[in-house]
């Protein structure tokens, strides 16, 4: 590294990184400890949203200060995660619900499918 970064930028980046580590660890503990699959789906989203946001913000600040021009490309990761993570979650939840119904577990029944009205 040619020029040292200002101290406050390093402190800010370090705090964001520590926050993201704590959030990811919280999500992992929740994933480990909850008793039910549908409860267990909640904590890992913490890592995909808030922890990833903290890390990308930290790297935006770090690389912008390092190269002395705005480096916004880490936002791509946030956009990608915002697009993909709900799709995975919905697919997994539907699969788990279907498997629970096949195993006759205590879950809500499937919604009745409405037949389309034939045109007159």
């Amino acid at each position: 590294m040619s020029t040292p970064l200002p101290l406050w930028i390093e402190v800010f980046v370090a705090l964001l990184l520590l926050a993201s580590g704590a959030l990811a660890l919280t999500g992992a503990i929740g994933l480990f400890r909850y008793g039910n699959f549908f409860q267990r789906m909640h904590p890992p989203t913490l890592a995909a949203t808030l922890a990833a946001a903290c890390v990308t913000l930290a790297s935006i600040i770090f690389f912008s200060a390092l190269e002395r021009l705005p480096a916004l490309y880490p936002l791509l990761i946030n956009v990608l995660l915002a697009l993909t993570s709900p799709v995975t979650t919905v697919l997994l939840a539907r699969a788990a619900l279907q498997r629970a119904r096949e195993a006759n577990a205590d879950v809500p029944p499937a919604l009745a499918v409405q037949e389309p009205q034939p045109p007159d």
Binding site: M1, P4, L5, L7, E10, V11, V13, A14, L15, L17, L18, S20, G21, A22, A24, L25, G27, A28, I29, L31, F32, F37, R40, M41, P44, A47, A48, A51, A52, V55, T56, A58, S59, F62, F63, L66, Y73, P74, L76, I77, L80, L81, T84, S85, V87, T88, L91, L92, R94, A95, A96, Q98, R99
Partner: protein
Amino acid sequence: MSTLLAAAIVVTLACYSLAMALAVVRLLRGPGAQDRVLGLDFLYVNGMLVMLVLSIRFASNMYFVVALLIALFGFVGSAALAKFLLRGELIE
């Protein structure tokens, strides 16, 4: 790279490693197949975060590309596994 930032990066990577270890425990123990897929999903997100932190550590953009690829292919894998659990077949 000052000592402060390097120490924070070490602590963060330790947190991620612990989180990945817990996800591996869930992956091996998980009562149902959907729990294992959930553990795998969490694992790839954490791997991507590790790559982003490493890009800060070594001040290199190459790790960012790796993180992007992990996010992309991790989504494809998780979605394919979830679809397989839903239908029992991938391509209809």
